[in-house]
């Protein structure tokens, strides 16, 4: 029987679950013309959950016999998830109305997906990881096909579902093998079993760990488990694509951090080679293919793949600098990437979206504020000072150098130089090219403007005054690695 203390410690998750249900029932009572109330209601839930997270800061609670952990690491990641969710809901409000898919389920599923991510971030047991992953994934399968009359959306949803099920199978198999080897699924228990049972070289355990890695790699879209990403981003509603690119990635890295830090820290030497290879493939693959894209959503899809590769560097470095930089990168990435997606959402004429790169021509003179925001996001994604993206990259690469992976850092810098090319091309097109035909129109909406504004503030804030967030990130990792 859960104690009151445990219930309080897990209150953010409970609030979010109840809120998702309440949205579902409210949806039954609200007329179609007033569905946007649900958006505000959902945002209120996010705010409450976020407030609960804040009040729990520093508590370090281990709940339900170790199955769930509410420490600073999970709180930090939860806040990133909640923030990203909030931004994507602000983007979605007008969008789903204009594209005639304003159903209450959109909000319910989004909230459930976030709940899944939060479960992954706080998991103390491999089964909770799996549970969270499935809650997240199932919601995303539906959300990515939310525009169900569109063949593209159907295709995206089905592809994502098939491949996701495939990946889940591997993850589950990995969990089974780890359980077979160590006799427990508790992360802490696994670490104990490895030390006490002398399982360091156990092939069954390594196989299990490898398969776990595959399952999570799919979620964060590492090459070669990335094939679904561009197709799904393109077919999914734009706010969902933005949401997925941040939340699924953050949740995947959250689970990876949890699993590796709590359970497999002793095996660190065994996975660095593999992860280095994956990081290299992911960065280069993502960036090179992104160069040839002419569709904004596909471009950002490949760019998000490349960013997962950069983030992996911090995991490889595995020192306090590296891991706190992973957290910082996720926060920075959340702002700049969702911001870029928000600009795409803004650039539409009711139902018609302008997704081709060439549609951005002349944006600089037609919609100067929107173009300026996009320029900031692109500069940040490219890693130009003094934006959030610059510092995030600076930290991650610095950590890799410090941990002795200088060669990897050099390759990463080369990659980011390559990446600057396609990010800056967007700016060049916006400011220095005249539109060929029809001028892209912009849809005004206060919620969307707020989303873009918040994203700009976040991007600039984390670039100029990162100290507070860096300190939070470092505090999050204190129990695992010491100072």
């Amino acid at each position: 029987m859960p104690t009151t203390q445990e219930l309080i410690a897990i209150s953010p998750e409970i609030i979010l679950a109840l809120w998702a249900l309440s949205v579902m029932f409210l949806d039954l009572l609200i007329a179609q013309s007033r569905k946007s109330i649900l958006a505000y209601w959902s945002l209120l839930g996010l705010l409450l959950a976020g407030g609960a997270e804040f009040s729990l800061w520093g508590r370090e609670e281990i709940l339900f016999q170790g199955a769930f952990v509410q420490d600073n690491l999970s709180l930090f990641l939860d806040l990133v998830l909640l923030l990203a969710t909030g931004l994507s809901l602000l983007m979605a409000k007008g969008y789903i109305k204009d594209l005639e898919m304003e159903h209450g389920e959109y909000y319910t599923l989004t909230l459930f997906a976030t709940l899944g991510g939060m479960l992954m971030a706080g998991a103390g047991d491999l089964l909770i990881v799996f549970l969270g992953l499935e809650v997240l994934s199932l919601s995303l399968y539906v959300l990515s096909g939310f525009r169900r009359t569109e063949p593209m959306a159907q295709e995206a949803s089905l592809k994502y579902f098939l491949l996701g099920a495939f990946a889940s199978g591997f993850l589950l198999y990995g969990i089974a093998l780890v359980f077979g080897s160590t006799g427990t699924t508790l992360l802490g228990g696994i670490a104990v079993a490895i030390t006490e049972g002398g399982l360091l070289g156990d092939p069954l355990l390594l196989l299990g760990l490898g398969l776990l890695g595959v399952g999570l790699s799919f979620k964060v879209a590492l090459v070669p488990f990335h094939m679904w990403t561009p197709d799904v981003y393109e077919g999914a509603p734009t706010p969902v694509a933005g949401y997925m690119s941040v939340v699924a990635k953050a949740a995947g890295f959250a689970a990876a951090l949890r699993i590796f830090l709590s359970a497999f820290l002793q095996l660190a030497g065994d996975w660095t080679l593999l992860l280095s290879l994956l990081a290299l493939l992911t960065m280069s693959g993502g960036n090179i293919i992104a160069l040839a894209q002419s569709n904004m959503k596909r471009l950002l899809a490949y760019s998000s793949i490349a960013h997962a590769g950069y983030i992996l560097l911090g995991v490889i470095a595995l020192n306090s600098w590296g891991l706190s930089s992973v957290l910082f990168y996720l926060a920075a990435y959340g702002f700049m990437n969702l911001g870029a997606f928000a600009v795409i959402v803004a650039l539409r004429d009711g139902e018609r979206e302008y997704l081709a790169l060439n549609d951005y021509a002349g944006l600089g003179s037609r919609h100067p504020l929107l173009a300026l925001s996009m320029a900031i996001f692109m500069l940040s994604l490219a890693g130009v000072p003094p934006t959030a993206g610059f510092l995030a990259k600076f930290y991650i690469f610095g950590a890799a150098v410090q941990a002795g992976y200088g060669w990897l850092a050099i390759l990463a810098v080369l990659n980011s130089v390559l990446a600057a090319f396609y990010y800056l091309r967007v700016i060049v097109i916006m400011y220095m090219r005249e539109p060929a035909g029809q001028v892209a129109k912009m849809t005004h909406s206060p919620a969307l403007a707020l989303a873009i504004f918040l994203a700009v503030i976040g991007t600039v804030q984390l670039g100029l005054f990162p100290a507070a967030v860096v300190e939070l990130a470092q505090a999050s990792l204190f129990p695992f690695l010491g100072s």
Binding site: M1, L21, M24, F25, L28, G180, S181, L204
Partner: protein, 131 residues
């Protein structure tokens, strides 16, 4: 026992559990196949038209059996699943009710409320209407 030592060398401690599984697997395979073989040997063999017909809930089939089903059929199946799960969970709960105490009562009511919510949702969304 000398045999026991060889056994331990051949099968590391961890795999002993799996050996049990393997034995179970073999036994589980032998049983139905053995039954079928026995039946094949001892049964009389007199085929007829009615005997060879497709069995579908005791009704005669009309037309092709290889047809598309209405998607709504699956929605019905899903709604049915709600009650199915309810039963599966309620039964063991009821059996052990005396030992479980107050908390499990509350827990079960939360569970029932959630299921009921799902049913209400499906109902309101028109899943129970045959169009």
């Amino acid at each position: 026992m000398p045999g026991c030592k060889t056994y331990a060398i051949l099968f590391p401690a961890m795999l002993q559990d799996y050996l049990l599984l393997a034995v179970l697997l073999v036994v589980a395979t032998i049983f139905p196949i053995g039954g079928l073989i026995t039946a094949f040997i001892i049964r009389p063999h007199r085929p007829g038209k009615i005997k060879g017909d497709t069995y579908e809930c005791g009704l005669e089939t009309i037309g092709e059996t290889w047809v598309q089903f209405r998607v709504q059929y699956y929605i019905y199946a899903l709604v049915f699943l709600i009650f199915d799960i309810e039963t599966i969970f309620l039964l063991p709960w009821a059996v052990a009710y005396n030992q479980l105490g107050l908390f499990s009562l509350i827990e079960m009511f939360i569970f029932l409320a959630l299921l009921l919510g799902g049913l209400v949702y499906a109902w309101r969304k028109g899943a129970l209407e045959w169009i």
